[in-house]
Symmetry: C2
Subunit: 230 residues, 2 copies
């Protein structure tokens, strides 16, 4: 199966490597392919340039947002939340139509200092997941994984024997069932994936960011998560 | 020690009963004492009228907001978040000055339907805890317990042997240490009380509400909480 990932940052790279390991065909979508391949600058978080990662992940294809979205049977949004809608518009509504669009992004707003807050208009009574679904009504948007650090997304058993929580939200039950299969391949146990119902569940999971970021500031690692006690 | 509680709803009653059990002197503050005692109407959540609870909790004193705040050595805000600032203003800044003011409220906004969202101006880049601290700069505001259902606030071992998370935030380390002692008496283990630093931590803990409410809608009980896995 062909899965395309919109966004080439650490999150996109992490998911891409895992998907390749699982035997999927993967294409990463970026704004400008030549620029991405030739850049030798570190990214905004001090990570190595994409070209270095690409050398050891040569099986991952690289294309424009549009090429990737058109090519993939499933599309995954791993862009910076502030750019997600714009990037997906470049990917093209027709290329997303009828497809599962896995959204793992967060609408982080770095303009008020650290830790980031959530973007105006995309929290509390709305969310990025909902906004993507509204903007691309023919895509089957499934929100998941956005409440955990990318390392844990594809290797949940790194902590607590994998027993911690992940959420899934979306309007299409069939799409959620497909995404759950993928999550299971990532190592998520079925009983740890809580179905929050329709895509408005994204409002709840994106709201995890403020407490997640504050706790990260205390425990000083992204390799933590929450689990449900009842 | 004399502890006064501003607010006579289920949360205030639950805390009051526990404090009495622990041997504290307790006064509940309400807008209108005579009205509160004579009312036979159920509250907005369908709970019995205050007068009934009061019969079996006769050791709890009842006073106006102002009387309660003036009388207590520690003051606890258990009002509805939408009314907290107004109620505390009636309690009087001078009666809060120099005192520990434990804030366990959430700025819930029921005007957009269920589940409630957070009140405009009191989330994301602000919080009710911070707003209370700004409004009463001479009070030592400590935010805690607002991420759990009131039954668990005073009986954490009701689930998971008490091993789940509670947060504490506030600008005054001494005040936080005092409140931690009280939390320990409520049954909270020290290792489960995560200090998030200054009162801006309230921004993070009040933001737990959206996911808490959504999860409650799935598990259909308030008797759950999260715990940290790392």
């Amino acid at each position: 199966m062909k899965i395309s990932i919109i966004g080439t940052g650490t999150v996109g790279q992490t998911i891409a490597s895992k998907l390749i390991e699982l035997g999927y065909d993967v294409m990463l979508g970026t704004r400008n392919v030549q620029e991405k391949l030739s850049s030798t600058a570190k990214d905004g978080y001090g990570n190595p340039p994409f070209s270095e990662w690409n050398k050891s992940n040569a099986r991952v294809k690289l294309g424009t947002f549009e090429e990737a979205a058109s090519w993939g049977e499933i599309v995954l949004n791993a862009t910076n939340g502030a750019n997600s809608i714009a990037a997906l518009k470049l990917a093209g509504a027709k290329n997303l139509s009828g497809k599962i669009l896995i959204d793992i992004s967060n609408p982080l707003d770095f303009s008020n200092g650290m830790p980031p807050s959530l973007l105006p208009g995309l929290h509390n009574t709305n969310s990025l997941g909902e906004e993507i679904q509204k903007t691309f009504p023919e895509a089957k948007v499934v929100k998941t994984l956005n409440t955990v650090w990318c390392g844990l997304m594809v290797k949940p058993d790194m902590i607590g024997k994998g027993d911690h929580i992940n959420y899934i939200s979306g309007n299409d039950p069939g799409a959620k069932a497909e995404v759950k299969k993928l999550l299971t391949q990532f190592g998520w146990k079925d009983e740890n994936i809580l179905d929050l119902g329709d895509i408005s569940g994204a409002r709840a999971t994106e709201s995890v960011m403020p407490i997640w970021l504050r706790v990260m500031g205390v425990v000083r690692t992204g390799a933590f998560n929450f689990t449900l006690v009842r």
